[in-house]
Symmetry: C2
Subunit: 140 residues, 2 copies
DNA sequence: TCCATATTCTATAGTCACTATAGATATAGG
DNA sequence: CCTATATCTATAGTGACTATAGAATATGGA
């Protein structure tokens, strides 16, 4: 069973080579064995680990949260309450961002429909930015 | 008419003191006059400028876009086509982010409703992260 | 007037999660 | 054997700030 090179692991996990080295440096991914010429030699479970990390990153979890989730994976009989909390916090953060972005979207749309594409002097985009009171933007 | 201190400008613009100095350093805000003891002495228009920047930042415009918008403000007779383009690009980016965040929200919700708050061994949150195929997540 | 507190100044480093670069070495394919 | 590719390390850069350290100045009360 031949060991996997960092390039192969990158290929099958979808995580870029420099990012894999970065994860190793910050202790998110265990350092693998090395070949005689000092190259990293991975076992297939590194691919699983990296997929886990990648998926969590795509979902917007930060590195510290992922570190905790990985730590939990190593203790399968513990309560998963903490994983639940992390995911719930993430969901709340995502909902908050959606709400704020939706408000921004509205404001940008109003800006754009009011600008009659003339001169900067009369440009609603510039005007709205210059005077917050002119817009209906209501975030907190 | 007394000049405004950086603290007063920060107070009335809503931009923090270190951030104002940062904007000056990167050339987004003109360096004001200095007092005999080397303190910044602002005129009231600095407050307007900073409000413009703050509002644009709240709308998610990046510094380079803001730089262009400010540059345009200095040429009021030019066409505002570029401002329009910048705002349109921003709108598109915001719409894209909303779409992706909405997908993530769905996935997080599914994760959470499936987890029966038991042991890590059976935790859907951990499971879903470990195996992308188990989720219906469809971004790009 | 003195003193304590608050404000300001500069320069530098830290944040997050990478990404890019430079320069050296090693391997694989033709 | 030669060349192109892959790997290695260390370091610096990204964006938009934020934090820190250490010095100088200003403000307000006893």
């Amino acid at each position: 069973m031949p060991a996997l090179s960092i390039g192969q692991v990158a290929e099958s996990s979808g995580v870029k080579v420099p990012t894999i080295r970065y994860y190793e440096r910050i202790g998110l991914l265990a350092a693998p064995a090395r070949s005689a010429s000092n190259r990293r030699e991975y076992t297939p479970d590194a691919v699983q680990r990296l997929r886990f990390i990648r998926h969590a990153r795509e979902l917007g979890f930060d590195i510290e949260a992922i570190r905790t989730l990985i730590e939990m994976q190593h203790h399968p009989t513990q309560s998963c309450e903490q994983a639940d909390e992390i995911a719930s916090a993430q969901l709340a953060a995502v909902e908050d961002r959606i709400e704020r972005l939706t408000a921004l979207k509205g404001e940008l749309e109003r800006m754009l429909t009011c600008c009659r594409h003339e001169r900067v002097r009369n440009c609603r985009v510039i005007e709205t930015l210059a005077d917050h009171d002119k817009c209906l933007h209501e975030t907190h």
